[in-house]
Amino acid sequence: MAHRVRVGATVLVGITFLLLAILGARMAYDEYRYEVTSPGLGLPTWIYTIWLPVLSMAILGRVVGVLLRLLKGGD
């Protein structure tokens, strides 16, 4: 039972970061599409916002790794 709850909690963490990656990618794509530039340096802002989806995907990868280890039965 406790094992099943832990698997469910890990899946929910994965869903959170998957959502964040998708929505963050949409936000970064919007800023790329509309060519938003930063007020001070005039750099395109997507080079800052792109890291939200990229790093969310990295966390998602770790969550998947934890999930695989849980499912394999190890602790």
């Binding site: 832990r6 909690a9 963490v13 959170t16 964040l20 929505l23």
Partner: protein, 190 residues
């Protein structure tokens, strides 16, 4: 069902089910925003705005400073200096640990970094002197954790980011006396 009930109910349910608090908050918030049609793009915007703050740049630098003190031998020199002040008596190593942590807390701002730097030097010394391992670890951890009161301190910077009306200099000024009192109290704790 009122969205607020759903928001808090889902958050508490997820939290007590063992989902990490950040994921519970994020999931409940995202779901309620999606259900009430507040504009789903508010989610990544808020997450990004929550991370992208300039004062947070100081945090990794404080941790780096603690690691540098540990590796370069500054912590070991501080230890010699403090030993010269305190002297060698019964229980002196524990007092030295607290005072060294207090001095490093005045240089570095991170409690964990300070504990790592002090522990790297003092734990071995206390073990060789015959202190019980649990006592040595407890003294180091307690001394390191009082350091977030002594300026500069990462915790104050983060608090000032969250509460804009509390400025960093005011928080630092307010932390000096309580931090020193906490360290003195740790020294004289029976």
């Amino acid at each position: 069902m009122h969205p607020a009930v759903l928001l808090f109910g889902l958050f508490f349910f997820l939290m007590f089910a063992g989902v990490p608090i950040a994921a519970s908050l994020g999931l409940a918030g995202t779901l309620v925003i999606a259900l009430t049609g507040l504009g789903i793009m508010a989610v990544p915007t808020n997450v990004y705005a929550g991370i992208a703050k300039y004062p947070l740049l100081a945090v990794p630098m404080f941790v780096l400073a603690g690691a540098i003190f540990d590796r370069s031998g500054v912590a070991a020199r501080l230890l010699r200096f403090t030993t010269a002040i305190i002297g060698q008596g019964r229980g002196s190593l524990a007092v030295i640990t607290i005072v060294v942590a207090m001095i490093i807390g005045g240089i570095s701002g991170s409690g964990p970094a300070c504990t790592a730097a002090v522990g790297g030097v003092m734990l071995g010394a206390m073990m060789r002197a015959g202190y019980p391992p649990g006592f040595a670890a407890a003294v180091t951890a307690a001394a390191g954790s009082t350091d977030i009161l002594i300026p500069p301190s990462v915790a104050f910077i983060i608090y000032s980011v969250l509460v804009p009306s509390a400025t960093v200099p005011a928080l630092f000024a307010a932390g000096i006396v309580p931090g020193m009192l906490a360290c003195i109290a740790s020294v004289f704790r029976p």
